[in-house]
């Protein structure tokens, strides 16, 4: 079912996602005029910027939800994502957590995790047979521990608290083992306690064969987790580097911090 299968193991520091000359517009409105962006393996990369900076649009393009007018998006330096549909992009190794927690509420926590793991072969029929595969069962147990929901494994996901749902969703992403993991405002609406638990989880997501992209408004949270930040303004990157440098940057202060 897929044209894209797993590639060779990535090396840390290599380019996980490479965006070149990207232009996205909706009717007359240009959301992203010309964007060039790179995220590398082994790093947690924060993307910040005021509302309308094009952060979510960028994610939409990478996951295939929005088709750009111009530009290229490459995964692993070789796979052109623009021609592919959402499921194929996901199977190529792009995972995404949405702003709103989206878990399958009528399924149990365990089933939510099970559904997220795609073993080979990945045709739908084979998938249904694979469901009881021992590797899957073991992996589900591991992730349940990791996200701290072992006790709730057999509850409906619908009854979980808001924070627990967010963690479950991160757990589902862990099951997917994506090469590029994108989190859209993972701590929005969380209590301080939940935020610090989430920060722990995100730090644990960092791995040499994975690039993590975090969109967030919460400066403190980004500073805590990100190795590198990019500041977007009206679809243009105006800063890239370490968070503490970003705070000093005059342009960044002007458009974002110094509001």
């Amino acid at each position: 079912m897929t044209a894209v299968t797993d590639q060779k193991n990535p090396t840390p520091g290599a380019q996980a996602i490479q965006i070149d000359g990207l232009r996205v517009s909706f009717g007359d409105f240009v959301a992203i005029p010309h964007l060039t962006f790179i995220a590398r393996y082994g790093e947690v990369h924060g993307v910040i910027g005021p509302n309308g900076a094009g952060k979510t649009t960028m994610m939409d393009v990478i996951t295939g939800k929005t088709k750009p007018k111009k530009g290229t998006v490459r995964l692993d330096g070789s796979i052109d994502l623009l021609g592919l549909d959402e499921p194929t992009i996901a199977l190529a190794g792009v995972g995404r957590k949405f702003q709103k927690p989206s878990v399958f509420e009528a399924l149990s926590v365990r089933e939510n995790l099970e559904i997220a793991l795609r073993l080979k072969p990945r045709s739908i029929l084979a998938e249904l047979r694979n469901w009881s595969d021992r590797r899957r069962v073991a992996r589900v147990g591991e992730v349940l521990n990791e996200i701290g929901l072992s006790a709730q494994a057999d509850l409906s996901a619908g009854v979980l608290a808001h924070g627990q749902k967010q963690w479950l969703e991160i757990g589902m992403l862990l099951m997917q083992r994506p090469k590029l993991l994108m989190l859209d405002e993972p701590v929005a609406g969380m209590t301080d306690e939940e935020t610090s638990h989430t920060a722990d989880l995100v730090r644990r997501l960092r791995s040499p064969e994975r690039a993590v992209l975090v969109i967030e408004h919460d400066m403190a949270f980004v500073e805590e987790i990100a190795d590198r930040v990019t500041v977007l303004h009206e679809g243009n990157p105006i800063f890239e580097g370490r968070m503490e440098d970003a705070r000093q940057d005059a342009q960044v202060r002007a458009v974002y911090l110094g509001r």
Binding site: F26, G27, F29, A31, T66
Partner: protein, 539 residues
């Protein structure tokens, strides 16, 4: 209108006669004609009758009256001829044939009646009928005369029929005379005249005239006339084709108007609340029944205003449907906003309730609607295309409603609220817009528009409890095609679907039209799931 002809006949004609009688030229003509008719020579008598028949051409009604008196007398054998004198010896006593005044010193006893054979009698009857065209006050009499001439053409010429046609006001008589004159012209002995006739007839491009020319050139031998006839036919065909296209477009536009009104309401509600109102068709029915009730109430209370019931019903139909919509919204729909699929079932249940309530209380027969003059006739435009007033009424209602809705949505506070809630419900709620109230008002508005659709179609289609069911599918197709929340999209989609229906229906039948529309929409959704004119943006 007091028949002017009658008025003239009573008061002016005697006066004119006196004046006319004293005119020497006229007097000379009359003397010559009377001499001919008294001559006893068949050819001369025939020529005289011909001249008499054409008396109305030059001398109008006055001349025709005189001529008719002579022809009547000749036919009834009351005419007496002497040497240079002619007298009519009727029941009212002898009168001079030239002046129609009582005779002085002339004794009709010694004079002879000119001979009348069968052929002359036929010419005389025909001449009499021609003259009746000029002199009769009643349209029915003139119509009977015209149809008599159509059978007995002895005294009829293109000229005397043409002159009568110019004076004629009654459409039925005009129609007969027009054809008659055309066929008289076409049987003229001179080919040049026949060509002229063809050209004259071709100026009025109707199917009837096309048939007349086609018939004429079938038996024609002169090449030039045939060529001219074929050119004329081609030109008529072009005009007829244009008329046909316009008539189809016009019929399509009127169906589209009804569709547009229903779909506009559907689209506003769907855009705002994500709800498809399956009872929209029944709200159309409510609008039509409200129009009927208005008519009955006026008939009972103010019969003089009956002709204006369609105008008075505009607010009534709108408000009646809007009220039903309002009740629906408050009692049922508002509980279901986050469950659009359940709303389908609920609105369907309401439609069943409405249909059966009407069926039980009023009955399931078609309602009788009074047709006021302003929706009965039409304006001939080109070829056989008549812009009928009942369709014009539907189009006018749609245009007015469209303008009103545009103004309402663009300029009013309510319209701003509707647009705000459509775009972002929670944000609109957060900035203090009463979304519940907005929903309620918009639902009533959408329902009221369906009510107007019901009013607009009442002079066009049958009105009965089940009338709405056919509309919901087409209306929804308009919403899908036009895109939610786009007024222009709704117009273009309604026109498109309306036109497809009327274009395909006569050729392949109504079913084919529906199949085609459905397939088109399914294919269309493949290409643009958001509709033709959906506002672009991030979704």
């Amino acid at each position: 209108m007091l028949p002017i002809r009658q008025f003239f006949a009573r008061f002016f004609i005697p006066l004119v006669l006196v004046i006319a009688a004293s005119l020497p030229a006229n007097s000379q003509d009359r003397t010559a004609i009377l001499a001919e008719i008294c001559s006893g020579d068949f050819a001369a008598q025939q020529s005289a009758l011909g001249q008499l028949a054409s008396a109305g051409v030059e001398h109008g009604e006055a001349g025709a009256n005189w001529a008719r008196a002579i022809v009547d007398a000749f036919e009834g054998r009351d005419l007496r001829c002497g040497d240079g004198i002619a007298v009519i010896d009727g029941n009212a006593g002898p009168i001079m044939a030239e002046t129609l005044e009582p005779t002085i010193g002339v004794d009709p006893e010694g004079l002879d009646a000119p001979s009348v054979n069968l052929r002359l009698r036929a010419v005389a009857s025909s001449a009499n009928a021609v003259l009746r065209l000029y002199t009769e006050a009643e349209a029915a009499e003139r119509l009977s005369a015209a149809s008599y001439i159509d059978r007995r053409r002895e005294a009829a010429t293109a000229t005397n029929i043409g002159a009568a046609l110019e004076l004629e006001t009654d459409p039925d008589v005009r129609a007969v005379l027009t054809t008659l004159r055309a066929s008289l012209l076409l049987s003229d002995a001179d080919p040049t005249n026949r060509i002229g006739a063809i050209e004259a007839i071709a100026e009025d491009a109707t199917l009837r005239n096309r048939t007349t020319i086609a018939e004429a050139i079938k038996s024609e031998t002169d090449a030039a006339v045939i060529a001219s006839g074929e050119t004329a036919l081609a030109s008529i065909d072009r005009t007829l084709a244009i008329g046909q296209v316009l008539a189809t477009l016009y019929a399509g536009a009127s169906y589209a108007s009804v569709l547009f009104l229903a779909a506009l309401g559907l689209a506003i509600i769907f855009g705002l609340m994500g709800v498809i109102n399956l009872a929209q068709g029944e709200l159309i029915m409510v609008g039509a029944y409200a129009a009927w009730f208005t008519q009955e109430a006026i008939r009972y209370a103010l019969p003089g205003l009956l002709d204006y019931y369609l105008i008075i019903a505009i607010p009534v139909s709108f408000l009646a449907a809007a009220l039903v919509g309002l009740i629906m919204e408050v009692l049922v729909i508002r509980r279901l906003y986050d469950r659009p699929l359940m709303t389908l079932l609920a609105t369907w249940a309401i439609s069943i309730l409405l249909i059966n309530t009407v069926r039980v209380t009023i009955g399931s027969q078609n309602l009788e609607f009074h047709q006021p003059g302003y929706v009965a006739g039409g304006f001939p435009i080109i070829g056989d295309f008549i812009m009928t007033s009942n369709r014009l009424f539907a189009i006018a209602i749609a245009v007015l409603a469209f303008i009103a809705v545009v103004v309402l949505l663009r300029k009013s506070l309510f319209g701003m609220n509707v647009r705000a809630v459509t775009q972002n419900r929670s944000m609109a709620g957060a900035v203090g817009i009463d979304t519940r109230r907005t929903d309620m008002m918009a639902f009533a508005l959408g329902s009221g528009l369906a009510g107007l659709a019901g009013l607009a179609l009442s002079p066009l289609y049958n009105v009965n409890p089940g009338m709405g069911t056919g509309f919901i599918v087409d209306s929804f197709m308009v919403v899908v095609l036009g895109g939610v929340g786009s007024l222009i999209g709704a117009i273009i989609a309604a026109l498109g679907i309306g036109q497809i229906n009327v274009i395909i229906e006569p050729i392949y039948g109504a079913v084919a039209a529906k199949v085609f529309v459905l397939l088109m929409v399914i294919v269309f959704i493949q290409w643009r799931p958001e509709g033709l004119f959906a506002p672009k943006g991030r979704r």
